[in-house]
Symmetry: C2
Subunit: 453 residues, 2 copies
């Protein structure tokens, strides 16, 4: 029989996360305090995050120990299986071997718990008594709800109202795991009340929800905020994906030619890719490709600039590819990719040409996702369909070039709670979104007076 | 670190299914032809099933080879992991070790593909060009849709209208896997037209849907019908669960004191339990417990009798525990357990005291399921919550008795496509259903004139 899955024993789970900050050949620009224009200091973030997480955010230590309590929770689903997509390969008929990390095996169905578990843990040991966060489609909010429940921390999630109404299942997941999930804007925060006073029927936005969650955290005793992507410590926690993948590929005696992932804020892509980027620094050859939506073409069309992480300007100024902090991406079904910016680490590596960005419109991604589901069985998340579309492209290129290639990608999650997106696609209700260049220029007005990196 | 999961290598997957028919200490009563009252012959079923499946239905061969093509599809998710529920154990604080087979790792999220894959395969090799089936909540319909897609067979699923309207996600899964899913009753069959003529707004029933699927199969060239539970061949295919579990428990050097599963038609329970029932026949000691809902207490309150498998009397008369073929169970959320009868093999083993049945009301099952989700992470299907409630009972009993016990149960599937059930429970909209004895007597009028087993 043809082998499909490669597992690691539980005893082989990586005991340390990998921090790419230790190995960057060129230094990154620092985040800036928006008031002073100076690099931020740890105490600037102390109202939002606990100090142990702030230290990791700024750390340049290469290997960081994974606490025993975190490992024990990881083991509920990790090490995740490395799959070979033999049926999809046969369907494509190209000279490629396609391997993927199946992050859909987690209880929440995505990679998000990899970061949620350590965040809940570090908050717990730092004395935090309650955590707030925001969520769009709900992947992050549900993962954090589970993690907080496991460490006995109450959790409140501000969920963008339009998603709250349209995607009730992830709200129900959060409740099942004991968290409170509110449709944002709420009347519980000043930000929320201001929005509602002007727009009583506001559908909400990720920007508003972040602002509400941060306001809640800074105005409530013993409460901290948690962010599910973009920041260095989130990418650090996700590195477990790539570290496991390397051990699994080693067992097979194979090194990939191409490593790929889909990119929203950058965390799942970074999780798989950064341990391979480290190999690039030492002269190894591997192509690293990040796939984003054409409706939100941050890396492929945005400038590298200082910008806020959120609409309400609550964050430091981050050096990143951005479409402007007030850019509202088109309502594509891959909610996890609808973010105006890109993780500073990923942005830096794109700028330094270690990572190749690509953009795909949602029609092409669902076409690829349906092919996947009908050959491999597992139904991918709409976000994941973006990298599958990119895998198809790379496979076709290998065929044209007549070269054999090994592709490794991150299958970031399953789509069982996103089936309405497939339904819309199959019933002809979806459309492609391509952002015209003049729209991008308009979007970027918001950042024209910021410091330049 | 404490070990949680036990895997088998792909090379260790069982190569044969186990057929308990070879080992029964006392013979089972045969299914009867309803017209003649005589035991049915293979040709009586030839209009519905292909001959290779009919042969397996009647087989008394102990081990039946799993075809290579079926094994290769099984490997997409099998061998499924054996988990130890350490967090749930700690929560209960009882002297038990709790192991479970996680059948939620399949692409459809349940054990159903274990039977759907071989059914699609055997139909394919027998020359079937199209398959029909019925589905209630949609677990079986979605699993068969995936399996048919994998073997290139068009599939039509008649889905009970009320579920079709209330549970759109499983319909969307079927479409994503390329199947046609219709709300039953339809106007495409005589049965459906008759129902609609009398009740244009009929919410449908499993009985009507089975009758439509069978009528479609027998009136369309090269079309066969597939059933997802109850029959001997379905239980045979599911035996892969228990055979894997035994190998995994052997690796741990542990033999269970109690083996448990939830029971609707009986297939997931049988899958885990029958390889252990075989040990009972050779004198080994193990308690086998099946958990059913109090709203549909087939084994605990129904008589052992000859009855039809469906409302429209399309099937042979089966010797089983039954509440009468026209019994409509209360609308509990565990749709997979809302079946009036019980697999003849399981019924026989209950009657012969090899299996102990228990009944749980849905309030108690959701209470157990929420505890599970909040400690173990994975959200169980509403059906699975029934066996978890039974596990809690057994754990408490062990505590009272001051005895250490090892429990092994079948975690038949996850609940990510059933979250509305959790939502209803958490918002106080669910109620307990206990069937009064006089209602059972009323229900059984339907079978009073049938032959007695």
């Amino acid at each position: 029989m043809e082998q499909i899955k490669t597992f690691l024993d539980e005893s082989e789970i990586p005991r340390q996360w990998y921090n790419v900050m230790a190995d960057l050949p060129t230094p990154m620009k620092p985040p800036l305090h928006p008031g002073t224009g100076q690099p931020i200091k740890p105490e600037d973030m102390a109202a939002i995050f606990p100090m142990n997480i702030i230290e990791q955010e700024a750390s340049t230590q290469r290997w960081i120990d994974i606490p025993e309590e975190v490992l024990q929770k990881y083991l509920l689903w990790r090490p995740s299986p490395l799959y070979r997509a033999r049926n999809f390969e046969k369907l494509l008929g190209c000279p490629v071997k396609i391997y993927y990390k199946n992050e859909g095996v987690s209880p929440a169905g995505s990679h998000k718990p990899n970061a949620a578990i350590p965040m809940a843990y570090y908050n717990k040991v730092a004395g935090t008594k309650r955590i707030t966060t925001e969520t769009g489609a709900g992947q992050w909010g549900s993962a954090l709800s589970m993690a907080c429940q496991m460490f006995g921390l109450p959790c409140r999630v501000y969920m963008v109202r339009i998603s709250y109404d349209q995607k009730p299942y992830r709200r129900m997941m959060m409740n099942t795991w004991g968290a409170e999930c509110l449709a944002s804007p709420t009347n519980l925060t000043q930000v929320g009340r201001n929005v509602l006073a002007e727009h009583p029927d506001s559908p909400g936005s990720l920007g508003i929800a972040i602002s509400e969650a941060i306001e809640d955290a800074v105005t409530t005793p013993n409460t901290k905020y948690a962010l599910g992507s973009v920041l260095n410590h989130v990418l650090l926690y996700q590195s477990i994906i790539g570290l496991e993948a390397k051990k699994q590929m080693d067992k097979l005696g194979i090194y990939p030619d191409i490593v790929m992932g889909c990119c929203g804020g950058g965390s799942n892509f970074a999780g798989l890719a950064l341990p391979y980027v480290a190999d690039l620094f030492t002269g190894k050859k591997v192509k690293i490709v990040g796939a984003e939506p054409t409706s939100c073409p941050t890396m492929t069309k945005g400038p590298f600039a200082y910008d806020f992480g959120d609409l309400a300007k609550s964050t430091p100024l981050l050096p990143m590819y951005t479409l402007g902090h007030d850019y509202i991406p088109a309502p594509i079904h891959a909610g996890g990719l609808r973010y105006h910016g890109m993780a500073p680490i990923i942005s830096h590596l794109v700028r330094e040409s270690f990572i190749e960005p690509r953009a795909y419109d949602q029609m092409k991604t669902f076409e690829a996702g349906i092919k996947w589901a009908r050959s491999e069985g597992f139904i991918p998340a709409p976000e994941t369909n973006h990298v599958i579309a990119a895998v198809v492209d790379e496979a076709m290129r290998a065929k044209e070039e007549g070269k054999e290639k090994v592709i490794l990608f991150n299958w970031s999650g399953h789509g069982l709670v996103d089936l309405s997106a497939y339904d819309a696609y199959l019933s002809g209700k979806l459309q492609a979104y391509e952002l015209p260049d003049e729209e991008i220029e308009k979007a970027l007005l918001a950042i024209k007076d910021f410091p330049k990196p």
